[in-house]
């Protein structure tokens, strides 16, 4: 009994954190934003440490519907640290009314909790409920912005596309259940590869993947991303862009691993989605003026690269996606940290607003440079290593033409990423703009992010070995 509690400790802790924050939301009296911030910060720091400590845990819980292995624990650790980083950059939470701050932290926590359950779920009902828990929290977070004209519109779009995607996913799951007669992924894994050529299995699998494509903003479920990025508060968008993307990648790996890799139909669908997603994301990103919209389209393109790693369906492919997920998290947090610091009243930041950043705040300019170059995939950042590993995995499986296509896309994407760097380094500061004050904790966070980005780029071997073991755990018959 006690053993099981220890296995479930990270989730229990985040549940406890949600309860504490819920207590703050119903507390009466004047809103106290500093108290809320410090509570959330301390609790999420403890949570991140607990997830780090539980990396070695292995076992099954709840009638084998819940599996702990290196894969799930590694992703839980990423999620825990992602939440901590997002809360770190929420110290100046101007985009949300003060009395709603506890709710903001509460829903961030429940969403993270849902994603943690999601990466461990190996049964269809568990998977569905966990996915809905994380999505519902996000639906509420997006329209929470203060004084914006677009937040409710972005919220309603996000909600309807999300609800549609999850209904489609359920419909697909019902076919998988009909074909395999079970809801356990372990049993599906043994029966589905033989049946994958039957229409029922293919339709079921493709429809099920739709729900996850929505989470990752893969084409054709991408069009919520730019609107939500523009309409949501900056910190909420930071969460959607980083933590929620990682959970999507994790569960996509789990589900695609189910098919065993011999379905040509499914492969063709994934290849087409990867190609269209990359091209569309990169081409539309070129003409964006708003930095958050640019990041939204770049995230659509990145979902395409991730699909490339997943459709190589090999241990190396999955391991490279795990590595890429972490690099993507750190790089995006770096970009959003600069964005949040730049935006004084929680407003959106245009690319022109970065003009002269190297004079106004040299440290921020360096972080932005590394973050943006990392997303573009230039060495020596983590983004380069991640892309490199994914492309190697795809070439090993004989998708050379697809990799060449992706390389062309990477080159296109350089254009708009360099536009951001050019604004920050070459353009003169606007008239009357003042230096940006950076507090000491923020300065430390900056240094930490810079070090991690470079470390991921230069010394990938330790983490990549762990990722390979985690990928083996997914591929092993459960």
């Amino acid at each position: 009994m006690l053993n099981q509690v220890i296995l479930f400790l990270p989730e229990l802790f985040f549940l406890f954190m949600a309860l504490v924050l819920f207590g703050l939301t119903v507390a009466s009296g004047e809103p106290k934003p500093r108290r809320d911030y410090h509570t959330a910060l301390v609790l999420s720091a403890i949570g991140a440490v607990i997830t780090l400590g539980s990396i070695g845990a292995e076992g099954h819980l709840f009638f084998k519907a819940y599996r702990l292995d290196l894969f799930s624990q590694l992703f839980k650790c990423f999620l825990g640290f992602g939440l901590f980083l997002v809360i770190c950059i929420s110290s100046k939470l101007d985009g949300i009314a003060e009395r709603h701050h506890p709710e903001f932290y509460l829903f961030l926590t429940t969403s993270t909790l849902g994603m943690m359950l999601l990466v461990s779920a190996v049964e269809l009902i568990t998977l569905f409920v966990a996915l809905e828990l994380s999505s519902y929290s996000l639906y509420i977070l997006v329209p929470m912005r203060k004084g914006s004209d677009h937040d409710s519109e972005a919220g309603i779009k996000f909600f309807f596309i999300g609800a549609m995607a999850s209904a489609t996913m359920l419909f697909g799951m019902s076919y998988i259940y009909g074909v395999c007669h079970t809801t356990y992924l372990a049993e599906i894994m043994t029966t589905l590869p033989q049946l994958i050529h039957t229409p029922g299995a293919v339709v079921g699998m493709v429809l099920t993947l739709c729900g996850l494509f929505f989470k990752l903003a893969v084409f054709p479920f991408h069009n919520w991303a730019p609107d939500v990025y523009e309409g949501g508060a900056n910190q909420v968008v930071a969460f959607v862009a980083t933590v929620s993307k990682m959970a999507g990648m994790a569960i996509l790996i789990r589900l695609v691993a189910l098919t065993g890799g011999d379905s040509t139909y499914l492969m063709n669908v994934l290849i087409i989605l990867a190609i269209v997603g990359m091209t569309l994301g990169n081409l539309v990103a070129i003409k964006q003026k708003d930095f958050k919209r640019l990041l939204a389209y770049s995230s659509i393109a990145h979902a395409g690269y991730v699909l490339l790693g997943i459709l190589s369906m090999s241990e190396i492919g999955y391991a490279s996606v795990i590595y890429y997920a972490l690099a993507y998290l750190i790089l995006n947090v770096a970009c959003f940290m600069v964005l949040v610091t730049m935006s004084e009243k929680g407003q959106n930041v245009k690319i022109d607003d970065f003009s002269g950043l190297y004079k106004r705040a040299p440290l921020l300019a360096v972080t932005l440079l590394l973050g943006v170059f990392g997303l573009a995939g230039l060495p020596p950042t983590g983004g380069f290593t991640g892309k490199f590993l994914i492309f190697i995995a795809a070439i090993e499986k004989g998708y050379l033409w697809l990799v060449i296509f992706a390389m062309v896309n990477v080159t296109i994407s350089l254009y708009y990423y360099i536009g951001v760097v050019k604004a920050a380094y070459l353009n003169p500061p606007a008239e009357g703009s003042e230096p940006i004050r950076i507090s000491i904790p923020l300065r430390l966070l900056n240094y930490a992010l810079i070090i991690v980005i470079l470390w991921l780029g230069l010394y990938p071997s330790t983490l990549f070995d762990q990722a390979k073991i985690a990928a083996e755990a997914v591929l092993a018959v459960l």
Partner: protein
């Protein structure tokens, strides 16, 4: 056509009706109802497969219970966001909320 196929066919029609509804309807409430139709189609599928195919008698029904529960939560969240839209635009017509470019 055997009995299972009839159920699957009805569910498919429900699903397509729901999908068309979400994409075509302009009223937010009607869109919400269409999403519920899609969820019900999935429930019907689970029940039909459960009744005709699977050895274990209960699993499909449990899934359906979960779908009903989450659908209720989804409706609550959807209605609250619709209320926010209504306060902002004084209308629940989706055409009014069209300022973002998508």
């Amino acid at each position: 056509m055997n009995e299972l196929q009839v159920y699957l066919f009805v569910a498919l029609i429900l699903f397509c009706l729901g999908l068309t509804g979400v994409l075509q309807r302009r009223s937010l409430i009607a869109m919400l109802i269409s999403v519920e139709l899609m969820l019900n189609a999935a429930s019907l599928n689970f029940m039909a497969f459960n009744r005709f195919l699977t050895p274990e008698p209960a699993v499909g029904q449990i899934v359906t219970l979960f779908i009903i529960g989450t659908a209720a939560a989804e409706a609550a969240i959807g209605l609250s966001i619709i209320l926010a839209v209504f306060r902002r635009y004084q209308s629940i017509d989706i055409e009014r909320a069209r300022e973002l470019k998508g």
